[in-house]
């Protein structure tokens, strides 16, 4: 085992983990602003406020670290790291280009990714409980309820792709991809992407952090760097969900000239999906809690089951 090589890959993953969410965040600033007829940040960095999030990061790093007196100190301080690190791990396993252009190929790819992403919830739950704040607790409970409802359609949709490819390894799935998978797996893609959006608690599924009623949910009491880590985990989550949808449903690096420019295709598709995430946020109002639950259990899960049946039948028919 080449330790240096592995270390380099890990550091590269960390760099990607720190850069891509910032790019998505800046895109969100600008895209959301223009969709609302505004300009967004214009000053930081000179040209159209490109350095706004860097400036935000510098500001967050200098801020005081306030832990409420009633809070459970240790858990309160640990929660942001628990919420953040799973996304870093997931990023390692997402293949970018053909021929081993991946942080680290893991055989049980889908499984690894879904399992590790599930740990992130614990961060929100810990934050919600340890803050000693009613709104935080409510936010934590809503987070738990929402994630439990949406994890399932996500699992089922991912299983559908695993069926189509006959493997659970992420590079294996992209290798097995054919263009006609896109129509074949449309329902699965829709379910996976929507459930992923709900897992991230992004609008219109942002009931757990609904700012107009429970302030900021589990993150209400957080300030400074710890708050920044929660935000970073949200944007890293966008990158991860978009990347996973790309890899599982949109064929990852497949596209014209994919031998040399495969990684570019993956990035392009990921960013297109990240744009859709932002676009949905700007367009739709927040779903109510009962609508959220009903959507997951009576729309997404039956759809995912139907997709499973379709995948199974077609797969057996063609083999």
């Amino acid at each position: 085992m080449n330790l240096l090589d592995t270390l380099l890959r890990c550091v590269a993953t960390l760099v990607v983990f720190l850069v891509l969410p910032l790019v998505v965040g800046q895109t969100e600033h600008k895209v959301m602003a223009h969709m609302q007829g505004r300009l967004g940040p214009m000053y930081a960095g000179g040209f159209h406020g490109w350095a706004q999030l860097v400036a935000d990061g510098v500001k967050f790093a200098q801020k005081e670290d306030v832990v409420p007196s009633g809070a459970d100190r240790r858990i309160f301080q640990l929660a942001p790291a628990v919420a953040l690190l799973p996304y870093l791990l997931v990023l390692l396993a997402i293949p970018v280009g053909p021929g081993g252009f991946v942080g680290q190929a893991i055989d049980a790819g889908i499984f690894f990714v879904l399992a590790v992403m599930g740990i992130g919830v614990l961060g929100s739950l810990m934050a919600g409980w340890a803050s000693a704040n009613k709104f935080s607790l409510l936010g934590g409970l809503r987070t738990a309820a929402q994630l439990m409802s949406y994890e399932l359609p996500m699992l089922l949709a991912a299983a559908s792709v695993a069926m189509a490819a006959g493997t659970v390894s992420l590079p294996g799935i992209v290798d097995a991809f054919h263009w006609w998978w896109i129509p074949w797996q449309t329902i699965g893609a829709f379910v996976f992407f929507t459930a992923g959006l709900a897992e991230l608690q992004r609008p219109p599924f942002d009931m757990p952090v609904a700012d107009s009623e429970i302030i900021f949910g589990a993150y209400t009491e957080y300030t400074g760097l710890r708050f920044a880590l929660f935000l970073l985990s949200e944007y890293a989550g966008i990158v991860v969900v978009s990347g996973l949808t790309t890899v599982l449903f949109l064929g990852g690096w497949h596209g014209p000239f994919s031998d040399s420019l495969g990684w570019l295709w993956t990035l392009l598709k990921t960013f297109a999906l990240a744009f859709v995430v932002i676009w949905l946020r700007v367009t739709y109002p927040r779903l109510r809690e009962d609508q959220l639950m009903r959507f997951a259990w009576t729309v997404l899960i039956p759809l995912a089951l139907a997709q499973l049946a379709l995948t199974g039948i077609i797969k057996v028919a063609i083999s």
């Binding site: 550091v11 993953t13 801020k63 942080g103 009613k134 399932l152 089922l156």
Partner: protein, 135 residues
């Protein structure tokens, strides 16, 4: 990767353990990143004590009571439902990797449909009993 029933060759194992060693290393890298960030924060940040700042935030007024309030218990049923369905969904993955291989085919597909069918019946039951209603 094809699974091969080969035993007792340490060389085969290197790929698997390497992959998870990389994951472990990334955990270390991530923890170091967080530690460095907080050390920098500790050096840069001001510390100004005031008891008001440490109060729980309740829209600007002094907090009432304690940090816990009674909430609806209804959603707990879905937590149960989720755990049961998740256990179910897990079985889809090993099935997904083998069902189209030679020697399984339609029979395995039917087996899985029976399995999913039972759970679909469960979901229908829940639906019918009004568990999946929220208003």
């Amino acid at each position: 990767m094809k699974w091969q029933p080969v035993a007792a060759d340490p060389a085969v194992g290197s790929g698997y353990f390497d992959a998870y060693a990389a994951v472990g290393l990334l955990v270390v890298v991530g923890v170091v990143f967080v530690a460095v960030a907080f050390t920098a924060n500790r050096l840069l940040r001001p510390v100004v004590h005031s008891p008001e700042k440490l109060l729980a935030y309740e829209c600007g007024v002094d907090p009432v009571g304690e940090g816990w309030a009674h909430t609806q218990i209804r959603y707990y049923v879905y937590a149960f439902l989720y755990v049961i369905f998740a256990v179910d969904a897990i079985y889809l993955f090993p099935w997904a990797t083998v069902f189209a291989a030679a020697g399984y085919g339609a029979a395995t597909l039917v087996e899985m449909f029976v399995f999913i069918g039972f759970l679909a019946v469960g979901l229908l039951y829940a639906w019918k009993k009004g568990v999946l209603e929220w208003t």
